[in-house]
Amino acid sequence: MKADTPFPCSRIDEIVYDYLDRTLEPRESQRFERHLGTCPSCASALWETERMLEGLTALKEEPESGVVEALVERFRQESARKTRGKVVELRSHQKKRRDGRPSPGPPDLAQAGPEAAARSGVSWPRLLAAGLAAVSLALSFWVVQLRSQLEDVASVAAVDRASDHDRLASLESQIDASRSELARSQATIRELEEQMTRLLQPQAFVPTAYVYPPTYLRYSGETPTVTVPRTAGFFQLTFVLDDVQGFPALQVSVLRGDGAQVWRSGAVPGDDSGHLTTLFRHGFLPAGAYRAELFGLVDDKRSELARYEWELAYE
């Protein structure tokens, strides 16, 4: 944009803050300033904006008195609380302090005594008295130090004891919890064992599907639904074959609804004792439509004697 192009008033909102922040391009600034000289409206707008920004700056506040101090006090308390909790660190710190501490006075003083005496030419009895005094002083100092250390150790031990006590209490409660859990688990095991025993008993094999063809007539009536308990283990299919005479052997085939054979008995000697039992493991036959076909075998010929259909379902 050329420097002599007049500045459009509509652009004031766009540039006024950059102008006040001194981030506006210098040439653009000059153009704006020239415009201000001729446009009272823009000059007034600039003035207003400046006052507004000044007003905003004046709203800055320092924290009210006492706020900082109260928060620092809180900070101090929290730091102290955390420090108290660090028993282990405290102990290691004390150990370090004990290691780093210079050895108590008596040997040093005793060692320094004769040299000092030689330098100053003091008599031996005096030197001895002074030495003894120094030794007793040093000893008393050492005793005081030792006592304070013992107190420290005692306080740490007290904290330790308290913490051990807490730990013991927590372990005891854990043991109680485990015991009750164990009791619950044992009860569950007992219950499961009983259930298993029940399931393994012979009554699980009570016939649940009972196909009853009283005559040689082909069955073409309704398709009954046979519901079998899923936990039974086995179910059996019993054909009651009354008056099946004249056939040396009999055979039963079980077929799925779509005609695929799922089981076929061997040739059963034909008599009129009445029962032909097949035993199926549950799940061997998926739920669905089935039919059983009973054949009479004469020589090589098979004659269908009866057909029974049913829907197998599991509980």
Binding site: L56, T57, L71
Partner: protein, 219 residues
């Protein structure tokens, strides 16, 4: 993340050399021992935190309460602060969470009071009145009222209170606290583009609101 340890306040050289030399508090990343560094942090961040809380809560007392809660939560959680972000960003996150919780509580209270009023159980309740005013500030303040507010500070405060929360927070941090755009972004979790738009809209709106008042003062 902003690499500078402090928002905009340069460390005070007097405070920095206060007997502790170049030692720095490990968590607060500021010169001085723990308490001194913490006090500096409070002096530096209390104002910006309060400005932000006021923007969202539109109530000075509630904002002060939230800032206080924020500091206490920060003190408690200081050992968990690993210094991965700046301390300022970290404490602003705490503040914004506390503010949200406070707003939720306010909203619930307002709903309860509103339904009670509808049922005719509460005839006039000063709290309800206050809440309803906080809920609709923009219709409450008009340029005339701003003018009638008298002192310029008061007028400005009233005008500021009418701005939407985010615009207000950005404007307060930028123009009252003197934060840089980058500092505002990291404190309020804004993108630079959003910050720019919010700031510009807030300034235009505020000037429009203050226009009649400022003109009056010029003449």
């Amino acid at each position: 993340m902003n690499g500078k340890p402090i928002a905009r306040v340069e460390p005070d050289p007097d405070r920095q050399s206060g007997g502790t030399g170049a030692e720095k508090h490990p968590v607060l990343a500021l010169a001085g021992n723990g308490e001194e560094a913490f006090a500096n942090r409070v002096r530096e961040l209390h104002g910006p935190l309060l400005q932000t809380a006021v923007s969202y809560l539109r109530n000075r007392d509630a904002a002060e309460e939230v800032v206080q809660e924020t500091w206490i939560a920060a003190i408690r959680g200081l050992s968990g602060f690993k210094g991965k972000s700046s301390f300022r960003s970290w404490i602003f996150v705490i503040l914004l969470n506390h503010t949200k919780q406070k707003l939720k509580g306010e909203r619930r209270r307002k709903q309860l009071l509103g339904s009670a009023l509808k049922d005719g159980r509460v005839e006039t309740d000063p709290v309800t009145t206050a809440v309803s005013q906080h809920g609709a500030p923009s219709s409450h303040f008009t340029p005339e009222r701003l003018f009638l507010a008298g002192e310029s500070g008061e007028a400005l405060r009233n005008a500021l209170a009418t701005l939407p929360a985010k615009q207000q927070a950005v404007l307060r941090l930028r123009d009252i606290e003197g934060y840089t755009p980058k500092e505002v972004c990291s404190s309020l979790g804004l993108t630079p583009g959003a910050e720019r738009v919010l700031h510009s809209r807030a300034r235009s709106r505020l000037r429009r609101l203050l226009g009649p008042y400022l003109k009056k003062r010029v003449r």
